[in-house]
């Protein structure tokens, strides 16, 4: 609904993720380490500025969950040059929009504005990279806002609570276990000092990627970037992001969340799954195609056919995977059973369907249709320069290169039946999985399911 959001939700798979742009893309690096990407699109006199910091919720100090997202909110509080809470107002008074978002691997800020206002928003964004001013009052009030945000987006929604619990079980050692919004008891303790020390260490030109997309010329962008970002001092606190890794996962985990606000019980399963690696996206591409084959379309996907068409045991099924992360991500499957089908039964049906897929392998015609859609997706993607900016910013922030990002559609198109089967056998292993049941509370005298 509103901005300055924590990106904590499940990310649905999209085969049309923009990757290889036919639009000219130019990259360069300033002396202070700031990476710059320029994507030209001269169809409209509009520009998008995005600054992506290579720091997110998975980089928080232990016990301070939510600080990455809290700082994102506080970044709008002002500097010496920009009065408290005036940042958005200045952008809006120029006819622009601005917002920000936080994930486990990155924190990003953006403005969309008339192309001839780029100078102004660059000046403001560069200013708050190093010159944030925070008062105790700002922090106390904004802390209430993020607690209300947690209430609205997580605590009021049993599905969000289940997903949060499942992540915590999925990752036994890696900080991806921790919700981006933060655990409430730790959010309540977040202080001005927490925010400032995190800010001073991580918000610096050598820890950021600037993406400028729209009606701009690369040389003009370079000049503006030199002028505004060039003078900023790099941080000495930037080290490679080597987070604690998962040990071998030897036992499947099961979560049952019962909540009286649940009306439609369902089964949700996540498997630990490898991510896209720089120079090696083959497995991630195969997993992306596997998710599409299993549960990407309500009429044609394998699970829809098995559980909704051939037999009517489910009303909805879906599979999803997003490999754009620094460390292992998850491959997810959700099934909502028909009203008279129990969660136990539908989970059994799901597992039998997955076994059948592993036996039968993918339908070559379905694979060919996916390739067609990938090719078309490249064309449709060119219609939104903002999505292209997102794709580059996100990819570069998790350590991929421009060549990886440009090569993603090709990697998807190259996936063979054998690749899909290999990926499926690797990922669909219940030892690596968390199975969640969202249910209504059992009535008196009943047992759950």
């Amino acid at each position: 609904m509103l901005g300055r959001l924590g990106a904590g939700a499940v990310v649905a798979l999209s085969l049309t993720l923009p990757a290889a742009a036919d639009e000219p893309v130019t990259t360069f690096t300033l002396d202070n380490g700031l990476n710059v990407v320029v994507i030209e699109d001269h169809r409209a006199p509009v520009v998008v500025q995005m600054i992506w910091y290579r720091v997110g919720a998975a980089d928080e100090p232990p016990g301070h969950s939510g600080i990455a997202h809290f700082l994102e909110h506080l970044m709008f509080k002002g500097t010496e040059k920009v009065a408290p809470n005036a940042f958005s107002g200045i952008v809006e008074a120029q006819g622009g929009d601005d917002n920000a978002f936080t994930s486990w691997d990155y924190t990003a800020y953006f403005q969309r504005i008339a192309a001839d206002r780029l100078d102004l928003v660059m000046e403001m964004e560069a200013d708050r990279m190093r010159n944030l001013r925070l008062t105790e009052d700002d922090v106390a009030t904004e802390r209430q806002v993020i607690l209300e945000e947690r209430s609205q987006r997580t605590d009021s929604d049993p599905s969000s609570l289940l997903i949060e619990q499942m992540r915590a079980a999925q990752y036994m050692n890696h900080p991806y276990a921790i919700p981006v919004i933060g655990w409430r008891h730790e959010m309540e303790q977040l202080s001005r000092e927490d925010a400032l020390s995190y800010y001073e260490r991580f918000y610096a030109p050598n820890n950021a990627t600037l993406v400028i997309a729209g009606d701009v010329e690369p040389e003009a962008v370079r000049a503006l970037a030199e002028k505004h970002y060039g003078p900023l001092e790099p941080s000495e606190g930037i080290v490679p992001r080597e987070r604690p890794q998962e040990p071998p996962q030897l036992a499947e985990r099961r979560i049952v969340l019962a909540d009286e606000r649940v009306s439609e019980p369902y089964v949700f399963r996540t498997y630990l799954a490898p991510e896209r690696d720089p120079g090696d996206q083959k497995t991630a591409a195969a997993l992306t195609v596997l998710a599409e084959l299993l549960g990407g379309n309500g009429q044609t996907s394998f699970l829809a056919r098995e559980l909704q068409f051939d037999r009517q045991v489910a009303v909805y099924s879906s599979a999803f995977y997003d490999g754009t992360s620094i460390d292992d991500g998850t491959f997810g499957i959700a099934v909502v059973p028909a009203p008279d089908v129990s969660l136990e039964t539908i989970e059994g049906d799901l597992d039998r369907a997955l076994e059948a897929f592993l036996k039968e392998g993918p339908d070559p015609a379905a694979l060919e249709r996916i390739r067609t859609q990938v090719r078309a997706g490249e064309i449709y993607a060119r219609d939104s320069v903002e999505n292209l900016a997102n794709s580059y910013g996100k990819g570069l922030s998790v350590g991929l290169t421009v060549a990886d990002i440009d090569g993603w559609d090709e990697a998807l198109s190259a996936v063979t039946e054998a690749d899909v089967m290999e990926a499926a056998r690797m990922v669909l292993d219940r030892k690596n999985a968390v199975t969640g049941w969202l249910t209504k509370p059992a009535a008196e005298g009943e047992t759950t399911e």
């Binding site: 609904m1 509103l2 169809r43 409209a44 006199p45 509009v46 709008f76 809470n85 958005s88 107002g89 809006e92 008074a93 120029q94 006819g95 622009g96 969309r112 504005i113 008339a114 001839d116 106390a140 009030t141 904004e142 209430q144 806002v145 993020i146 209300e148 945000e149 209430s151 609205q152 605590d155 009021s156 009286e260 606000r261 009306s263 439609e264 309500g298 009429q299 044609t300 056919r305 068409f309 009517q312 009303v315 909805y316 909502v336 028909a338 009203p339 015609a365 060919e368 249709r369 067609t372 859609q373 090719r375 078309a376 064309i379 449709y380 060119r382 219609d383 939104s384 320069v385 903002e386």
Partner: protein, 431 residues
Amino acid sequence: MIRAVFVALFLLAVPARAEIEIKEVTSPGGITAWLVEDHNIPFAALEIQFKGGTSLDAPAKRGAVNLMTATLEEGAGEMDSRAFAEAREALAADISFDSGSDSVGVSVKFLTENRDQVVDLLREALINPRFDQDAVDRVREQVLSNLRSNEKDPGAIASERFDQLAFGDHPYATTGDGTIETVTALTRDDILAAHKGALARDRIYVAASGDITAEELGVLLDRLLGNLPATGAPLPQDAPWLLPAGVTVVDFPTPQSTVFFGQKGIPRDDPDFFPAFVLNEVLGGGRFTARLMSEVREKRGLTYGIGTYLVNMDHADMLLGQFAASNDKVAEAIQVVREEWGRIVTEGVTPEELETTKTYLTGSYPLRFDGNGPIASILVGMQMDGMPRDYVTTRNAKVEAVTMEDIKRVAARLFKPDDLQFVVVGQPEGL
């Protein structure tokens, strides 16, 4: 400084895209559409809206138009559900059907290279849908699943209660998805009747944007839509406005209350609409500097977000708002909303607020036209609202023309603090 910005943005707004030249295309068969040609990328977006929508449902058949619309993609002509979906995938066409209170919509994106095949496929879905019993039943189960979810969703509960209070026995009083009882009882014949009543040429609005010429679009229109029936079901009557003032609490076990609030709005073609539009933006716009965001979120931390909206439906005009706040803070938040509602009447807005809001509205307007899909959608909306094609070049001047006197007059006319109704879903303290 501000004046200079104005001029620049006004100029920007007019030729925002030199290519934003809206043509009116009339097909040989007499169907009109608006078109923005842009041959930069080899695809086009097509947007079709049929006026009427779910409000065409008879009370006992509530949900028929929604279920019909959701089943359009489940098989047509020789193709069953799966064959239709596979054909669509093989063409890499993006086709979606959607029903709302006032219209049924079809949004399509297709590559230039297989435009004709996509049109043929879509025509089958619109003209010749199968509505196989097994497909109707399967989609019905999905609708019922959503209806059961909505019974436990605070936002859905709040908006449904609000509509009940406002609209008496008009279709707007209930959700177009229907009830569990009515949807369960819908037959295949009901779906066929809903299809015949909702998709007809006498209520059609079309726009296209992208890689297609006027001549090509003309041919496409006849081929795609020419065989639809000439007339459909009678359009709904205007809705009564029965909303009482006050606070309505719906008990729901959750730590945070969800609030829907509002009062009567102002028609889209009212001479005072633009001052009202500016006033709403000052008070409840989505910007962080709007008064309610500033007072309720930024200064007091009572909510994550709050906004108000002028909602213009075909048969009712509303001024609505919504937010969520913890059960122990929601009473205070409602009090702040009431105070701000009164303050805008007694104090109006400052000249500075008026100027910055105008600059925002005029400057952000061209940013909306960012791609073929959004352009086609905006063009259809303009036609349904009865606007001329040159509205895109005159709209910002209408915003600019709003004066402090207009603001004062319209604030007193529009904002009625004593008329406000707050529907609160949760376990609020002190209400």
